[in-house]
Symmetry: C2
Subunit: 568 residues, 2 copies
C-alpha cells in the first residue's frame, strides 16, 4: 500500500534547488534589494534547519514568525516544515490581546520577528505570561533594541550547508494560521503537509494560478496571511523567480519592483491595486512584463478589471478562505465564453469564478435546500476537498458551528450527483451560482441585510456605489429598523475635492435604475475612511459599533411602499 | 485531522458534468462517429454504477476491461472506481497464457469486452479454469457470436440516471494494470484513488501536460496501457473535449479525427507518429488545430521533433512507467534555454525531459554511488513520489527486486539534499542527467551492452542509425563475444527500395564520426521488421532469441584495438 510520506513539501524545494539553481530570489529590505539564488537558498535553509535543531526544535513543534514578505521569511517557509516542525505565521496587525492568545494557544517556543515589528511584538509580550519562556530571533544581521533576540544571521551562521532531511509524515501539520474572526477569539487552522501539497498542485493547474519557470512571482499579500495564498510554495514548485516586497511597501515600491524585476504574476487585496491605480495617475507605470494580477480577500470592482485590461494585464479574481489553504475558485473565462461580448466577459470575471479541480461545493438556502444554478438564488456555500480543513485547532465550539457532517445522501450541483457523505465546511459566504457555474459572493452570512423577510446583498450595493467616479470606497450595513427588521445604510469615502451632495444624489439615482426600490439605502453617510480589519478588509463590525444608533435615517428617502411585502 | 476520502476520482467527474455539461465526448466506432456530452456521460455512468451494483459488484472488487479506446470504455473509467471498485484494464495483445494468469491473479469476476476482441478473449477463456465463474459484457448494442455476453446497452438500460455515489477511501485501489514484463509473469500494479488523484493534478501542471477546457484531447495510446497515460482522467479534470479513436485506428483514421474534431492534444508511441508521417507523404494533412503531440513508450527521434516543429506542433517527449501511473518526466524546454539555438533546443527536447513537480529521483551507478549531473555518467534511475507504486500485487519476489528501502541518509541530486529515507522504485532505466537536469535514457539496465568492461548505450546507437533517411527502423543488441564479453550488432529495417549496402556503408561512416570506435557495431543486419512487444515497443528479447548465434560477425569491421582497454 502507498506510504504516508510522499505528499510533503521537501520535494518542491529539492526540485527548484536542483533544476533551477541559478534562478533568483529577490527581496526588498530597508537597505535596498537583496538578491540570491535557489542554490544559495538551499544552503541557507539547511543552515536554518541545523540552527533550529540545535536550539531544540523537534518534529511536531510549532515555530512562529512575525514578519513581512522577505527572503528570510521565505527561508522559514521550507526550513521549518521540512524538519517536521510547523510554520506558524502570526499576523502582526492584530491587537496585543489576540497575539497573546495566539502565542499561548499555539504553544509557540520560538518566534522569528522583523526588526521593524519588534517594538510591536515587545509591546504584546511585555508582562504577558503567555510569552513566558518564548525566545526570539530577529530577522536581521544585528540585534534590535526592542527585544532580547538573536540576530538571524548569527543564528544560522557557521552551520553546515547541507542537511539530512527527514521523511516527514504527510499528515504532520506543516503550517498554521489564525483567522482574525470578527467575533470571539481567533481560530487556528492547521495545514498538514498533504493539504499544502494538494493546494500547491491544484494551484498550478490551468484553472488555478499556473506558474512556470519563466515566471517572476511577487506576493504582495502578506506572508502572514494564509501563507501569502500559498504563492511561496507554488512558485518554488514551478521553479519561478520570487520577488518579496518587504516591509509595508507603498505603490511606488511595488511599481519599481514590477518594472525592475520583470514581475509577471502578482497578488494582493483590492486596496493594494487601488493604490497602484492612484499612483499611475501621476506617475509613469510600465506594466509590460506583467501578465496576471491575482485579486482576492475581497471583491475587485469591474472598473479594476477594465483598468488592467487596458494595460494588457489579466486580472484574475480568486476566492478562498484561511480554512481552505486558501484557494477555492478563480475567475478564469470559460472557453465557451471566449466569443461573448466584452461586457459579458467582464461581468463573469467580476464574479468569484469557478471552483478549481479537486474541490466539491454545494449551496444551501435558509430552508436547507440546494439552490438552482440560475445566478439569482442565494444560499450559503459549503465546500469540501483535500486542502479544506476538517477542524479548528483546539476549538470544538467553533467546529460545531462551522462544519457540517452529512451522514446520508446529498445530491450536489446542477445535473450530476456529488458524493453522498462526509464533512463539509460552511464557508459563511452567501453566494449565487450562475448557469455557467460561476460563483458570486453576494454577502457574508452575517452581513446580508434582512429587510422585510427578504435578503439584500450589502456587497452588491457597495460595488454599485464604488462604480461612481467620485467614490473612493463605500460600504453598506444593515441597521435595525422597527418595521422592516433591518434597512441598508451606505457609508461613502469621497474622492478628494468631490461634492458630497452631488455624489449622494447621483449614487441614489444609479441605484434606483439598477435595483428594486426596497434595496435602496435609507441613508447615505460620508466618512473619511472605512475601518479595516487586520487583513485589510472592510470591518463592518467596527462600522456597526461606531455608527449604529448615531445615524439619522433620512425620512422619506425611500417610500415605505418600496419595501417588499412580507407576505410575498 | 484531515480525512482519507478527499483524494478520489469522483470530484473530477462531478466538476466536468456540472461545469461543462455541453462539452463533447466523441468516439470512433466501426459504424462511424458516436457523440454525446458530459451531461449524457453523467447519466450513463450512473446507469453503469446501478447495473454493476445490481450485478453484485461491491467496494474493493476488481472489474476488468478488454477494450480499445472508445466512449463505453471511458464510462468504465469513472463508473467503476467511483463505486469503490477497481478498474482493471487488460491488454488484449498479450498471449493467452498471460491473459489467463492475469484474470486469475486479479480475481476478475466481470469483464467488459469489445465486440472485435471477443474472439481473442474467447480463445483465452476456452477451457481455462482461470475463467471459471467469470461473466462478460460486450461493448455494443447487440450480442456477439464469440462469447456468452450481455450487451452493454442492455446491461445499463432502464437504470436510474442518478447515483448516490459513496465516499470512497482514498487508499482504495481505483485501477490496476499488469506490466508486460519481458521475462517471467506479468506484474500487477494497483493505482489507488490517491495515486490517480495526485497523478492527475501533477499532469495538469505546466511542467506536465497541461490541459484546459478549450482543449480537445485524443489518447491514441491504448486505454489498456496504464490508463492511456491517465489522459481520460486528466482531460475530465480539465473539462476538455475527449476524442477516442476506437478499434485499431490507422493513420488515415487519426488524420481525419485530428482534422474533423479539432484535436489539440494527442498522445501515442513513436510508431503511431511514424505512421502519420508516412501517411502525410502522399496525403494532405491539416494539423492546424493541433498544439501538442505527446510521445512516450520509447524515445522519439530528433527527426520527428523537427517534422512536427515544421508543422507548428510541439512534440513533447514524456517518460514514465506502469509503476508510476505513469508520468515521470516531460521534455519541456526550460526557460533559460529559450534563447539557445534551435539545434541545442532539439537535442534537449529529444531527451526524456525534466521530472514533474512532486517527484524525487536519484541515479545510482554500478558502485552504488550517485552520478554527476554532467550528461555523461550513466546509472540506474530511482524514483519516489505520491503516484509511484510501493509494491507489486501479490508478488513479494518482484518487490524485492524492483524496490529499495533506504533506511539511512541518502543525498540526492546535484546541489541540494533529498529526504533521507523511504522506499525508492528501481526503474530499470539507465540514464544520464545533464547540467540542466534533463534525463536521458541511454538504455534499459538489461539492454545496455557491456563491452570490455565499459557500457555502450544500445539506444543511442539506434537513434543515430534511425537518423539515416533510408532507415525505417533500427535496433541494436549486444551479442556474446569471447574477448569483449558483448559486442553490438545493429538490425535495420530499410525504407522500401533502398539499397542495403549503401545504407550499411553510410551508417557505419556516420557512427564513426559520432562515437568512439569501440561503440561501432560489429555487424549490420537487415530485417523486414523489428519484433515488437504487446505494447508496441521493440522487443530485443525476441531479437536476441531469433538472431543470436545466427549472426555472422563481420571480421575486421572494427579493428580490435578500437575496443577499450579493460584496465582503463
Amino acid at each position: 500500500m502507498p506510504g504516508g510520506t510522499d505528499m510533503t513539501l521537501r520535494p518542491f524545494a529539492w526540485r527548484a534547488e536542483n533544476l533551477y539553481p541559478d534562478t533568483e530570489i529577490v527581496s526588498r529590505t530597508h537597505e535596498g534589494i537583496e538578491r540570491y539564488t535557489y542554490a544559495d537558498y538551499a544552503k541557507r535553509t539547511a543552515q536554518l534547519a541545523h540552527a533550529m535543531t540545535e536550539y531544540g526544535i523537534e518534529e511536531g513543534d510549532r515555530v512562529a514568525t512575525f514578519c513581512w514578505n522577505h527572503h528570510r521569511h521565505f527561508e522559514t517557509y521550507f526550513g521549518i516544515p521540512t524538519i517536521g516542525a510547523q510554520l506558524h505565521t502570526i499576523n502582526p496587525l492584530l491587537p496585543d490581546e489576540h497575539i497573546q492568545y495566539i502565542v499561548d494557544n499555539a504553544d509557540d517556543q520560538l518566534i522569528f520577528v522583523d526588526d521593524s515589528l519588534a517594538p510591536k511584538l515587545a509591546q504584546a509580550a511585555e508582562g504577558a505570561e503567555e510569552f513566558d519562556g518564548v525566545d526570539f530571533v530577529v530577522m536581521s544581521e544585528t540585534e534590535t533594541d526592542a527585544l532580547d533576540a538573536t540576530p538571524y544571521e548569527e543564528f544560522i551562521s557557521g552551520h553546515p550547508t547541507e542537511f539530512d532531511w527527514p521523511q516527514v509524515d504527510e499528515d504532520q501539520p506543516a503550517g498554521m494560521c489564525y483567522t482574525s474572526g470578527t467575533t470571539g477569539k481567533p481560530k487556528g487552522v492547521e495545514y498538514t503537509n498533504k493539504m499544502l501539497w494538494a493546494h500547491t498542485m491544484a494551484t498550478l493547474t490551468p484553472h488555478g494560478i499556473p506558474m512556470n519557470d519563466d515566471d517572476v512571482v511577487m506576493p504582495v499579500v502578506p506572508m502572514f496571511h494564509v501563507n501569502a495564498w500559498g504563492m511561496p510554495f507554488t512558485a518554488t514548485a514551478a521553479g519561478a523567480k520570487h520577488v518579496y516586497p518587504g516591509p509595508s511597501p507603498d505603490p511606488e515600491d511595488l511599481a519599481k519592483l514590477i518594472e525592475e524585476e520583470g514581475v509577471t504574476i502578482t497578488a494582493g487585496v483590492p486596496t493594494v491595486w487601488l493604490g497602484l491605480m492612484e499612483y499611475a495617475k501621476e506617475n509613469d507605470l510600465d506594466l509590460s512584463a506583467l501578465d496576471t494580477v491575482i485579486v482576492g480577500g475581497s471583491a475587485a470592482p469591474e472598473s479594476m478589471i477594465r483598468w488592467f485590461d487596458d494595460r494588457g494585464v489579466e486580472l484574475l479574481h480568486a476566492w478562498g478562505m484561511s480554512e481552505m489553504s486558501p484557494i477555492g475558485s478563480v475567475s478564469h473565462l470559460k472557453s465557451d465564453l471566449a466569443d461573448a461580448d466584452y461586457e459579458t466577459q467582464v461581468q463573469k470575471r467580476a464574479k468569484q469564478g469557478i471552483m478549481v479541480p479537486g474541490l466539491e461545493f454545494k449551496v444551501i438556502n435558509e430552508d436547507g435546500e440546494q439552490i438552482a444554478w440560475d445566478g439569482e438564488e442565494f444560499g450559503e456555500l459549503h465546500v469540501r476537498g483535500p486542502w479544506v480543513t476538517k477542524e479548528y485547532f483546539k476549538r470544538p465550539d467553533a467546529n460545531e458551528e462551522d462544519f457540517v457532517d452529512v451522514p446520508g445522501s446529498e445530491a450536489t450541483g446542477k445535473s450530476g450527483d456529488g458524493t453522498s457523505s462526509g464533512r463539509w465546511l460552511k464557508t459563511g459566504d452567501v453566494v449565487t451560482v450562475d448557469e455557467d457555474g460561476y460563483l458570486k459572493i453576494v454577502d457574508r452570512a452575517k452581513d446580508v441585510i434582512k429587510s422585510g423577510g427578504e435578503w439584500i446583498s450589502s456587497v452588491e450595493l457597495e460595488n454599485a456605489i464604488m462604480a461612481h467616479d467620485d467614490v473612493s470606497e463605500a460600504t453598506v450595513i444593515g441597521v435595525p429598523h422597527e418595521k422592516w427588521q433591518e434597512r441598508p445604510v451606505a457609508f461613502i469615502v469621497p474622492m478628494e475635492g468631490a461634492d458630497e451632495d452631488t455624489i449622494r444624489e447621483e449614487v441614489l439615482e444609479m441605484l434606483h435604475e439598477e435595483y428594486p426600490k426596497w434595496w435602496i439605502p435609507d441613508a447615505v453617510e460620508f466618512i473619511d475612511a472605512v475601518p479595516k480589519t487586520a487583513t485589510g478588509k472592510f470591518s463592518k463590525k467596527d462600522l456597526r459599533e461606531q455608527y449604529t444608533g448615531s445615524v439619522e435615517l433620512h425620512e422619506g428617502s425611500v417610500p415605505e411602499d418600496a419595501a417588499p411585502d412580507q407576505n410575498d
